[in-house]
């Protein structure tokens, strides 16, 4: 019996582990190898340079700036997306006119859920085209067009969204939030609906208002979903490559204006493909990997809570 069990376990793990080792783990290990060389990316010839690439990273201001941007994105993308989604989830599920029982969703909540979720099925490639047109820096862009029409912006000095060092990161965040809110709305809605109605009714009987109900009852019970959402969004915030490289200005994977729209991924790819410093780029990737792991551990630790059973 026990022997059969081991054979079964091994049999079930074989295919997934093999695929994973070949296509995922081994390439990453090699990347680490490359990060110790002066490989140019175009040629298979390179020499071992030890930790030179890593020490050079400490003096690379562009890279440090990019890390800082990723950290900002890592804070703001999850916070804003989760807050907005929670707000809407609450509206959809509890925001309706109270009937006899006092708690209900708004009418048409399903229509909202359908519309809100839709951006999630659009690929990043589509988002890139859409937001390039939206953020266009003259009256031909949707945002500028509307603002000019409303008289809020002078047609002679339209807002150059992506060419403004103060705006560029926020503009990128808006894309992610626009894309993600619907998904988390549905996620949180599901969790909210699993909360027994009696808890709400008891809270209302105790005289709690809706906002109190939200903060005292709903939110704590949703904590686990929030934590999951945080991890997903954190992974998104660490990447950002497709959007940053297509939407921000600058030669060789964007990152502008003047590195204000830079994320680790754009710096990495520019060094990798454009400057021919692939070994160096691999070192950046390894640093990124380590950072991601540290942040994940911190996030999971920080958000760990007692699980509320109901």
């Amino acid at each position: 019996m026990r022997k059969g069990q081991y054979r079964f376990v091994a049999g079930f793990l074989l295919a997934p582990l093999a695929l994973y080792l070949i296509f995922v783990i081994w390439p990453y290990i090699q990347t680490f190898g490359y990060s110790l060389t002066d490989w140019s990316g175009e040629s298979p010839n390179f020499k071992f340079v030890g930790l030179d690439n890593y020490t050079a990273l400490f003096h690379d201001d562009v890279f440090k700036q990019a890390i800082w941007h990723n950290v900002l994105l890592l804070v703001f993308i999850p916070v804003l997306t989760i807050l907005i989604s929670l707000f809407f989830a609450f509206m959809v599920n509890v925001g309706g006119r109270g009937g006899a029982g006092g708690v209900s969703g708004v009418k048409g909540s399903n229509i909202y859920k359908i519309i809100y979720f839709f951006p999630q099925v659009l690929s990043l490639a589509i988002l890139a085209v859409l937001f390039q047109a939206l953020y266009r820096s003259d009256e031909g862009g949707l945002l500028n067009g509307i603002l000019i029409k409303l008289g809020l912006v002078d047609a002679n000095s339209p807002i150059e969204w992506m060419n403004n060092p103060k705006l560029v990161l926020w503009c990128l965040m808006v894309v992610i939030i626009w894309h993600g809110v619907g998904f988390y709305l549905v996620l949180f809605s599901a969790a909210m609906q699993s909360i027994p109605r009696e808890i709400y009714e008891a809270a209302l009987l105790d005289g709690a208002g809706r906002s109190q109900t939200f903060f005292r009852v709903t939110l704590p019970l949703l904590w686990e979903s929030v934590q999951t959402a945080w991890v997903y969004l954190g992974i998104v915030a660490m990447d950002m490559f497709v959007l940053a490289s297509t939407l921000t200005p600058g030669t060789g994977f964007g990152g502008g204006p003047d590195h204000h729209g830079e994320v680790i991924a754009t710096v990495l790819m520019r060094n990798f493909l454009y400057f021919g410093k692939s070994g160096y780029a691999c070192a950046m990737g390894i640093v990124m990997l380590v950072l991601t792991m540290i942040i994940s551990v911190i996030t999971l630790r920080a958000t760990r809570r007692e699980r509320i059973e109901f």
Partner: protein, 313 residues
């Protein structure tokens, strides 16, 4: 008119769609419950605002594909002068949208079910069986979710080259499965842990083999979880750009192009650099959005209930 208590659960979703469109516009007056009333108006206001923020840009983009380049360059709020569908056929042929769509479908038809099968198998044994190295293998899998994909690209390329899997469907399917495993294992692991053990034990006592228990008892029980991870994987793999852009390039000129749809769109965007034709780009995007809209609208109930199931542990 008082609203009956209504559980807005998604299971009744389908029938709600057409029937409630009218009530979306505003709350009707005459209800004395003031708090609920204000909240209702308030919530509808915000909800409608966000809905507009989502629908408006998409409609505007579709509208823009009917414009000429000159109009696109002019005011954003101008209206197309003619409704010429020629641009869509141009986008269809120029962007090869149809071919790329089919390519993507071919890959996903295999990669998503296989991801779920392999992911569940690994997650199942890791969740339900004690053996040395269990936790190590689990963390080994899960940590993969954090790796930035492009880091592995070049070594991965050589690997695929050696295995003669470049620009092949089976190669990309394998890679998609491998890169989806971390998250799938993570998700299904926690799902399998929540399933009751009693049925499992009963089946084992009846003399069913481990394999049979998995396929005939556990998998059906895990259906809600499988559904939601399936949705994650469809979305994730459908939108994947970086992997196919490196692995699905013809390696010599005689080879057929097996582009994924995302690659096709980016290519269409890059062509703008050399022969300006923005309407075609917008039309291409509109065409690419359409099947997703149809699929999404037909499966939205399953998608939502899938997510519901997935988060209920």
């Amino acid at each position: 008119m008082s609203t009956p208590i209504k559980d807005p659960s998604v299971t009744e979703g389908g029938s709600v769609v057409p029937g409630q469109r009218g009530t979306k516009k505003s709350a009707r007056p005459g209800d004395s419950r003031s708090e609920g009333m204000t909240l209702n108006v308030f919530s509808h206001g915000f909800l409608i605002l966000w809905a507009v923020l989502i629908v408006l840009p998409l409609l505007w983009l579709i509208l823009s594909s009917f414009k000429t380049d000159a109009q696109i360059g002019g005011s954003a709020l101008s209206w197309p002068t003619s409704w010429d569908f020629d641009v869509f056929s141009r986008a269809w042929s120029k962007g090869h949208i149809g071919d790329y769509f089919l390519n993507t479908a071919i890959v996903l038809v295999f990669s998503v079910p296989l991801t779920m099968l392999f992911g569940s198998m690994a997650a199942y044994v890791l969740a339900r069986y004690q053996f040395p190295g269990n936790r190590l293998i689990y963390y080994f899998f899960v940590s993969g979710a954090m790796f930035p994909v492009f880091l592995a690209l070049i070594p991965l390329f050589f690997m695929m080259k050696r295995l003669e899997l470049l620009n092949t469907y089976q190669g990309l399917i394998g890679v998609y499965i491998a890169y989806s495993l971390p998250f799938t294992v993570f998700f299904m692991h926690s799902f399998f842990r929540t399933l009751p053990t009693a049925i499992h034990e009963a089946a084992v006592i009846d003399g069913a083999s481990h394999t049979r228990v998995f396929f005939q008892v556990m998998m059906p029980m895990a259906k809600p979880g499988l559904l939601s991870i399936g949705i994650f994987n469809v979305l994730g793999q459908w939108n994947q750009y970086i992997l196919p852009s490196v692995l699905m390039q013809p390696q010599s000129s005689g080879e057929p192009e097996r582009y994924m749809l995302t690659q096709g769109l980016i290519q269409l965007q890059q062509q703008q650099g050399y022969a300006t034709d923005l309407p075609v780009l917008f039309a291409g995007v509109a065409i690419a959005m359409l099947p997703m809209l149809v699929v999404y609208l037909s499966f939205q109930r399953q998608i939502q209930s899938g997510l519901t199931a997935g988060t209920l542990k």
